[in-house]
Symmetry: C2
Subunit: 161 residues, 2 copies
């Protein structure tokens, strides 16, 4: 992966599309070269998949909750994690170190559903305690960390390897 790949990925992050033509306009790299590069990146697993960003508000999923979960488990943490993931509405689950064991983020319709979510969590054997925080407004929610990085920083990081 060289500077040209970075420029490509940055363009993808900024434009929010993988369209070769759009990328060509943005980067001035010839269309067929973009193909060549993109294929390599896919092969290497750098680009996982193409997907759609669905607006959850449209489904009435307007409520976001962040739940800290304290668990007591003997086996591997993955087992507990799987049970958390199975609860309806969970969009993120992070296994963490520190005061709490898991940080879970869920998207729900209303406070009734929040109640059900918490109840579902508490029902899990290994779960000891939960601590919920309501989200009033989400200012950013993107997988594209690249968007927040400057091209220079990314190239620099690359050089360190």
């Amino acid at each position: 992966m060289d500077e040209r790949d970075i420029r490509l990925l940055k363009a993808i992050a900024d434009l929010g599309t993988g369209s070769p033509e759009r990328l060509h306009e943005e980067t001035d790299i010839p269309v067929s070269t973009i193909h060549y590069r993109l294929n390599n990146l896919k092969e290497a697993g750098v680009i996982e998949n193409d997907l759609y960003d669905v607006d959850l508000e449209a489904f009435g999923l307007g409520v976001t909750v962040i739940v800290e979960v304290l668990a007591d488990y003997a086996g591997p943490y993955e087992e507990v994690g799987e049970k958390l993931l199975a609860v309806e509405g969970v969009t993120q689950a992070h296994f963490t170190m520190g005061e709490t064991d898991f940080v879970v983020i869920a998207r729900l319709t209303d406070s009734d559903m929040v109640e059900r979510l918490i109840r579902d969590f508490e029902t899990i054997d290994e779960v000891e305690r939960t601590n919920s925080t309501y989200v009033i407004a989400t200012m950013r929610d993107t997988h594209n960390a690249l968007q927040s990085y400057s091209l220079e920083t990314l190239v620099e990081e690359l050089a360190d390897e």
Copy 2:
């Protein structure tokens, strides 16, 4: 938005792609109708954008941190939020109610960069205190809350409107 749209969006969430042909295989809805529907959904803002999922590990962005930010501000919260978003590596920022004011999630390269992140936060005038939690493993991180919902639930939600 009717039941057919829901089926379409559910298929998108499940397959992880917006490819009309794949969607046709899954739903048996004619290809051109899928185009028609998808266009409407885009117009309505239900589908925000099509994008690529970039593997952040490939950039050495292997460290995830969750930071709770306590702030003291006179003006609107957006002002503080903007300052938080400007810090390099921030992928999510939620304005919350409860013990803390913001929950921020960032993707970074190493602990040096975590230090810098915290320092950047603390430098912001309105920020009073921060509390960081390291993520050991992320078990799920998807915008696709739809994946975790059953088709029945979604249609039911729709009917309530």
